[in-house]
């Protein structure tokens, strides 16, 4: 089987996976003991109103027709409305409002994790069994073992106290630009980035820096687990390639040190890092609930959590569907990267 056939098969496999995953979501929200009508009515519950709402929402229809309706709407991207937390607002509008903050957060947390984790891991791998290797490795392991929500709380406290601890020498809130520690990032400048930049470059850069600074602590926490993973895998990968025969051959034929590291070791060591980097999607989605809660960033994780505890079933279904699409999409991306980077893929498939 060629590499691309293998890749195609993986892509085709993802269709039933999305269908099954959405079906599980439907089963959970419709067959579970949670009653959407009482969630809508809250304290003003009375049987007549409940019956009316039930009729309006089509909850009296047979289950199979509800199911097909649910699936059909999601797959044609008619994402429905929120019932409880923002009644009447379409899920699409809600996502449009909340998603940018999560994307901004996810973007920085991937970036910080990559640019700290991988260099540290490669450094530790190139200098194995030295003191700095031990410090880096142990630090990475402990860093990875810390629960995100706890780390977030500690970081919030530490940053809020920087002024008092350093006697006003360094205060996070006033450093470079003035921001609060616990705050959603102001992303207004992204509305029309090009125009905004041309008209007022100074102000644009200022709001960019501000938004970055606002998100940085949250991104650092959210990326902590992946950072640790990338470091560990990076270290092992470098150690493995460094001891492999082709590196020895390259060294023997006189390849220079710099070219050896970059061309022969670095590129091959990246392969095992691919699933870690794409696997970050899972960590970021799950972690966003906690980190957004602590840092008061009202993004998708926060939206999902609130939809869930308020019993906003259609919104939950829609968000779940979006998350499934993101995760399946990431898996396909991972397979694609593998197919491109590693010529050995598909031989055993």
């Amino acid at each position: 089987m060629s590499r691309w056939q293998y890749f195609l098969r993986r892509v085709l496999m993802s269709i039933p996976v999305v269908i099954f995953g959405t079906t599980i979501t439907f089963a959970l929200i419709r067959l579970g003991p949670l009653d959407p009508v009482s969630a809508i009515l809250g304290t003003q519950y009375n049987p007549q109103a409940a019956e009316q709402i039930r009729n309006n929402l089509g909850l009296n229809q047979p289950l199979w027709s509800q199911y097909f309706d649910f699936m059909y709407r999601l797959f044609t991207f008619q994402l429905g409305q929120s019932w409880v937390i923002a009644p009447g607002t379409t899920a699409y509008e809600l996502i449009q409002v909340y998603a940018p903050r999560t994307i901004w957060l996810g973007f920085w947390s991937v970036l910080i994790a990559l640019f700290v984790g991988i260099p540290l891991g490669f450094y530790a791998g190139l200098n194995p069994n030295t003191l700095s290797d031990y410090v880096a490795s142990f630090g990475g392991i402990v860093w990875r073992a810390m629960p995100n929500f706890w780390l977030a709380i500690m970081l919030v406290t530490a940053l809020s106290q920087t002024g008092q601890w350093t006697n006003g020498f360094f205060t996070w809130q006033t450093w470079i630009v003035k921001t609060n520690v616990v705050t959603p990032p102001a992303l207004g400048f992204f509305q029309s980035p090009l125009q905004g930049f041309i008209e007022d470059p100074g102000g644009w850069i200022n709001s960019f820096v501000r938004a970055t600074k606002q998100i940085a602590p949250a991104a650092l926490v959210l990326g902590s687990a992946s950072m640790g993973n990338e470091m560990r895998i990076g270290r092992t990968a470098v150690l493995e390639t460094i001891n492999s025969n082709y590196v020895e051959t390259a060294r023997a034929k006189g390849v220079s040190g710099r070219s050896l590291v970059w061309k022969h070791i670095f590129r091959n060591a990246l392969i095992p890092l691919v699933p870690i980097i794409t696997g970050e999607a899972f960590l970021l989605l799950g972690g966003s609930v906690f980190v957004e809660t602590v840092f008061a960033i009202n993004g998708l994780g926060w939206l999902f959590f609130n939809a869930a505890i308020n019993g906003d079933l259609p919104l939950i279904g829609t968000l779940m569907y979006i998350f499934i699409l993101i995760l399946v999409g990431t898996n396909i991306l991972q397979d694609f990267l593998y197919t491109v980077i590693d010529p050995r893929v598909g031989y055993e498939g």
Binding site: S14, L28, L283
Partner: protein, 450 residues
Amino acid sequence: MVLLGVELGAILQVVGAIAGVVVNLLPGDPGAAAVSSLQESLKGIPTLVSRDFIPNQGYWDGSQWVGTFLGLSPAAAWAVRVTVVYAYAFAVLGWLWNGYNRYRRYYRRVDWTPRDDVVNRFRGHTWGQFGLIITITFVVMAVFAPALGPTTMEENILQPYDYEVSYWDDESQSVQTVLVGEANLGSGSQGAGDENVAPMTYDDFGRFHPFGTATNGKDLFTQVVFGARISLTIATVAMGIAGIIGLSLAMLTAYYKGLADLAIVLASDSIQALPVIMVLILMLVIFQNTWVRELYDGAVLIILIFSLVYWPFIWRSIRGPAFQVSEQDWIDAAKSFGQTPGQVMRKHMAPYVFSYMLIYASLSLGGIIISVAGLSYLGLGITAPTPEWGRLIADGQQYVASPSWHISLLPGVLITLVVTGLNAFGDGIRDAIDPQADTGDEAAATGGGA
């Protein structure tokens, strides 16, 4: 004869251990009303590590401590008891290890088994041993939780208004008694000044608090040790159930292949495509007001959800090895001898893949502990009165910058420590069982980002 003597003493020790474990395990178990009668009868058996043998709850009568072990201060008596518990636990384990070595050297018929290599490899694995020691420390903490706390769950946390505490009142220069609940109200940690009982100090009622008090004045250390119990129980039981499901399905798919395999691939891929934390939140909300949610303050439901969500990961990690073993000649041989599929799977396939499952499961335990703490932090996991680390962190969140920093900080440090220990132990197990193993699925140990 010397050997016999050594082992005889140790056998008695083990009998004591079993009695001790029984006495200590049963009474504090949350919600275990059914065993309360048994608990009463068992309390009569004196054991070395019980609270009654080394009591630390006493009061100062103006000239000396009354009611504590040898008249020591409560802090010293508590320290003695903790030391005795740990010394005892490590002595038992050391004795078992010694016995295993002795058996291996002198009594076993064969000179060598493959398992010896595993043990020997683990012996040379310092990092894994570090993890093992941390893990044992926490397991002992969970098992001996009632004996380790400076006070009991019942008295301090569950029924504080049913118990009294005597203390030395400085103003009237006499011994007074007060309800534990009222004493708790007067010794909460809520930030500045008088409203704080720091770690390793006494409160106004002469009670010693190794980790200080929580916001409501209840002893933090007692809550932490019982929190260790619930966390470790959930993690191991959930992983056990997920392991059984994963292993049985792996056997079925490897044996029958084809359609069975495809069906499980689809099912597991679909479950793996769901964001774990979101599904946990959703399911906990959905089952909020049902009877399942009430069992053990939610622990049973959480265990069920975790095992349903985690089995695909286990199945995935052992699918390959299971397929490999199903191609072996001995499987063919077993089949042609007329063994039933069940027998072939159980006797000839399962033992081979079991160790791979062990590797994955041990690396995933930490993730579950983090997730449970995270859910409890959000107010969805384990509910009161059962103590849970995540809930303690949530309680103390607003006091981190104040003198009451200990409420949030200490449980978090303990989570980090136990997860690091479990991961290290898992690494050790992996390197011992399968030295050529890949690095494994690293994302497993991070609990979906909690």
